[in-house]
Symmetry: C2
Subunit: 213 residues, 2 copies
């Protein structure tokens, strides 16, 4: 849902990114995702120093799950803020974000965990078969990895791109080692909720491009 003027600004921005990036090693489905993150952050490090890592089935699995109306579980409200809302509306995806619920706060206090950890654990039915997107909280990502390793959930795609100094790089390294689960992550400290939303928006664009062919 964009005006003509809004769309023409976006097109010109994408062209500028193409011109400046020159050559890259991403394939034809990966690159529109990386390009959209750069568009959201004006940060070319995402193509290079903090480059994206795509597990081989990640994009296909994410596209299939989204177009079949899977849930989208996010760690923070910022990820929701950056989403193009028309997509989940059209494809029937429920967006789940538990972080601000009072009972989560209480449970986190009781168990000596972060709210992010607890908010993932309680969303297990939505994570199973769904997309989980983490832009902020490495403890949320670690919890999801643990749930996968425990055999409790089988997400269609884990988007793990938390930003930060403590635990964030380590949590992404853990994700990159996960076997048999589709994931998209990146190296180092950079990331964030805008990057997480950009990835989801870009996957929906791939779905629409495919269905218009």
């Amino acid at each position: 849902m964009q005006t003509k003027k809004g769309q023409s600004i976006e097109d010109a921005s994408m062209k500028m990114i193409e011109d400046e990036i020159g050559s890259h090693n991403y394939n034809e489905k990966e690159w529109p995702i990386v390009r959209r993150i750069i568009h959201s952050t004006a940060d070319f490090d995402f193509a290079d120093k903090n480059r994206l890592i795509f597990q081989k089935d990640a994009i296909e699995s994410g596209m299939n799950a989204l177009k079949n109306g899977c849930s989208i579980v996010v760690d923070v409200n910022g990820v929701i803020g950056g989403l193009n809302k028309q997509n989940p509306k059209d494809f029937g995806n429920e967006i789940v974000c538990n972080i601000s619920k009072p009972e989560i706060m209480q449970q986190a206090k009781d168990e000596g965990k972060t709210r992010s950890q607890v908010s993932m654990r309680v969303a297990k039915n939505d994570i199973d078969g769904g997309i989980v997107a983490i832009g902020n909280a490495p403890t949320a990502l670690m919890e999801v990895i643990e749930m996968v390793n425990e055999g409790i959930v089988k997400p269609a795609l884990i988007i793990g791109i938390p930003v930060g100094f403590i635990c964030a790089p380590e949590s992404k390294e853990e994700l990159s080692k996960l076997q048999g689960t589709p994931f998209i992550t990146n190296l180092g400290r950079k990331g964030g909720s805008s990057s997480a939303s950009a990835i989801i928006n870009a996957i929906f664009k791939l779905i629409r491009a495919e269905s218009s062919n």
Copy 2:
């Protein structure tokens, strides 16, 4: 509203930023704001290549307005997502974001404008005397500058930190030239809704620190 564990991760991150940044030229109120942006983005360019510019009255004026319960007008929902919600709740600040309203879309189409432009124009009563924070849309920022120049609004603070390739750097340059209006902006392409929220969260922290002295 943070658990003990969440707070200790934040403290350790801030310490890491302090250690890595070494010396800087920001004053004692500016630096906690810049540091919080770096915390939200893991991007040290905000202290340097894309450094922040504070109009001389900006922080004081923003603090006064917020603690007196002014409105906070934002360009996109992503800015709201990144806000610590306890602050506006405690200080009675209304958060205004018009971008997704159907009537804004219609008006934008009719007038050949972006939705962002229209969403600022219709929020004029809240912008006047309030805080306006723009993390995404340079056309929104240009519209606010125009409204100031037309004498329609006198914001207590303009936070203008849109990210982007087209118009964003230019809109921030325009803002930096504005006379007699408090603003916080930065140079170049980088910015975003996380940075805009980080600035607001940091100003609330300054208010709380001041009142606890």
